[in-house]
């Protein structure tokens, strides 16, 4: 589907500078080899050079943009180019409309299961006893939904998502392929002979509205009570969330991070990739945690930025890391200094001699 530059300018409330009749069929990045029917945006002055050489038909720029050389491409001038481009992405996604609808065969839907209107249930999906599914829900092929699970409206479960019994998923959630919700918490009672006995994990998982969960991420159900993911939380791929954890509203967790059992993570936190949390910690709201950090104690003060293994304040970590690289040199310096220690003894000898001389002299 093609649009003119002018039509696009209208969508994003922008002003055209150049040929508004050019046809656009593709969104592109300014630093890639854009084809002629592309539109891209300049959001970061770092990429400004590309605007003079791009073969894209049009570029979305900020009102504040001042060209340093001749610009050959048509411009659409807006307040916030990044926001405008995101709007275009959203429009384009609607046009793509890649979501299928209807119920494909074969699928397994227990007779006791209920679901709302405008649903998609892909082939080979399994919907167990007493499952309740809202409207506008998309269930891709190979999804497993165990008994007594509840799923809200407008939620999408991509291929191969597995949801254990009794889990509750909210509205407007997206679970990517291979996500596992509600597996056993990792709980074993050590026996006197060194072996372990499984502790039954009888709780569940509750996921609130507007939560996104990345591919192959795993969220364990609680021993008793619930593992809770609050509203608006965004979780990347391959993340592990242990039993009885609670993640506060609008917290973002990057890929491959692991959160041990019974942690309580605050709201609006931003957690980097490959971070690890020991069990039973409380992390205050608005905490920012650098990638690969090891968190072994609670964070009480809101708004802290921490990093390291174990983590402490971010700036301190960066400074200590600089000195870490110089450690062999620092050690040598200390050893050189130690060799001077003998001088102290000499100093004592001198003092003694001087006392003697002074006594004689006076």
């Amino acid at each position: 589907m093609k649009f003119t530059v002018s039509q696009i300018a209208q969508m994003i409330q922008g002003k055209v500078s150049g040929n508004g009749d050019l046809l656009i069929s593709k969104l592109a990045k300014i630093d890639e080899d854009a084809s002629e029917e592309s539109i891209c945006f300049l959001g970061n002055s770092k990429y400004e050079n590309y605007i003079y050489t791009t073969s894209a038909a049009a570029v979305i720029v900020a009102e504040t943009f001042e060209a340093k050389k001749e610009v050959l491409t048509t411009l659409i001038i807006v307040k916030d180019p990044y926001l405008a481009f995101t709007t275009l992405l959203e429009q384009y996604e609607k046009l793509l409309n890649h979501h299928p609808t209807g119920i494909e065969s074969p699928s397994f839907i227990d007779t006791t299961a209920q679901y709302g209107e405008n649903i998609y249930i892909g082939a080979f999906s399994y919907i167990g006893k007493n499952v309740k599914i809202g409207k506008n829900v998309k269930i891709y092929p190979h999804v497993f939904i165990g008994e007594n699970v509840t799923i809200g409206d407008n939620t999408t479960l991509y291929a191969g998502v597995k949801i254990y019994y009794h889990s509750i998923i909210g509205n407007h959630c997206t679970l990517h392929a291979g996500v596992v919700v509600g597996g056993d918490g990792f709980g074993f009672a050590p026996q006197t002979d060194g072996t372990y006995k499984n502790i039954p994990q009888l709780g569940n998982v509750i996921i609130h509205d507007y939560v996104n969960i990345g591919a192959n991420t795993t969220i364990d159900r609680a021993t008793i009570g619930a593992t809770v993911i609050q509203k608006g939380v965004k979780i990347d791929n391959l993340v592990q969330i242990g039993h009885n954890v609670e993640i506060g509203e609008h917290t973002v967790i990057s890929a491959q991070t692991g959160i041990s059992g019974s942690c309580k993570i605050g709201k609006y936190c931003r957690i980097g990739g490959q971070v690890g949390f020991a069990g039973h910690l409380e992390i205050a709201d608005n905490t920012q945690i650098g990638a690969q950090s090891g968190i072994n104690s609670s964070v009480e003060k809101q708004g802290a930025t921490i990093q390291g293994y174990p983590a402490f304040d971010y700036k301190g970590f960066m400074k200590s890391s600089v000195v870490f690289r110089q450690l062999p040199e620092l050690k040598k310096k200390v050893e050189r200094l130690e060799k001077q220690q003998v001088a102290i003894e000499e100093l004592d000898a001198i003092k003694k001699l001087l006392e003697q001389m002074k006594a004689k002299f006076e």
Copy 2:
């Protein structure tokens, strides 16, 4: 299903103090907002305050518990509250009896496959040629079992488990959703032109009895011979176990840990989350390894506790980590000390002068 406090006390061999006729329908945590028909336990004195405010009908406490304030709830007095509660969890799990039975349709069971009595085979499960499955086995939907696989009695494979050909799984094992057993070991022969040639991985995976494996964990098959998980091993979610690895009996491995090819991990080890092992290492029995450690050499002495990147003794790591935070300050101190180095030369000058004076003086 509801029980009276007295009935529960009988199950766990406890003594009732208070109203034994109260009805219990739910297990709860003492620090959560328990409903009236709940029972919880006090296992850790840290949580004692909650016993005076909980709205649970009953709390299981130790014989040694002495109330500091008035307790309004009914008590069940036992020797070990945690153990008693675990017993209740087990009883409760049996009552829940969430495991389905029978063979659902459609499923794919090769005509050469064999299986024992009292089996569950969920819809869309695939059972390949010459597969042998024991009795009381639960195979959830979307499980893939490749040819010549053997599975023991009383084992549970949750939704979407994939087991490659020739793998052997023992009795009483639990494999959680998305586990992959028997994928190719990561072996490539570097060629002279910088490319790599796949080395065929012809071995298999052998998993012994009473092993638990967490969701989306991957265990590679051996190049030749077998990757072996010994009896009673407990593995958490998203763990990677390379080809030809052997994990000793009753070792526990936390989430997101990775074990490179040909490692031999001892018995009764406890390995934290996100730990990484280089290839071909031997780790002695009873080794404890802190989270996120990087293990780049074998551990010969049994019973060591190690941590760090690279790992060394745990206490040393914690002490060094404290100094790591102080490194910028330590560096400044050394620089200040170095400025004093000039004093040594002055000392030499003084000594010379003193010798001269002494010579003249005497």
Copy 3:
């Protein structure tokens, strides 16, 4: 199937020393308890002792091998024992021929999908609209292939692989069980109220020829444009590759490594396990990165070997790590040195006194 030692010697162009009529039915490792019909190889002098005690029928050795004791087993003498053994593994794999063929039922193949000759499509596989699949492709059970996906010749998708719409997979690729290709990139626009808005991810994933991808690894599709895995790349299990990443030809990535969005990794790089990359980095060709490293800046110089958190040159990291263990001791030394600082003041006092004496003396 059994072969004589002489037949095997012919396959690998070797010379028999001993009984060439012995029967071989199994490949084994020299350091394991080999059965009588086994053949193994001695590739590393570290394992030489085993050649005098092995119960294997034959051992493949190098021309340069000189026995230090009596060798009881038959030998096959070749130029490169490792290479010869790899050849045997390949022959053996062909004999095993474990790959099934044909189209199993039930499977879901959209009427608009196309596929080449000699294909295997396992039961419960899902092939969406306009999918194009080459010849000799093996699609194991529970594979999901979304609409408009293209898959080249001779590629194998193991059980439960999930490929989102518009992805392109090359020839001779192997994707192991549970791999997810094309999930949403992790992109969210922060709103002024602290919440996040999903940024549509409209690009795709392009995987070139001869790429291997390990079990449960996830590769996100680009926001716009493509996430690209170049020819011959080998990726281990549980790896995360973010949106708009490009991995250069013949680069090897070990398990559980995570690569953040828009990174550009060079050719012929070797990346250890559990490494993490910050976003938007460029890594030069032939870079080697040690396990668990944290890469927070681009690597411009080709052929560097780096490690650490954050990473720097490998040798420097190893040296600094040694001093890290000695930090508490180093700190004590500095404190001891500081106590000597008082001596400097004494030195000043001595100098003063000496000046006075000198003045009087002269």
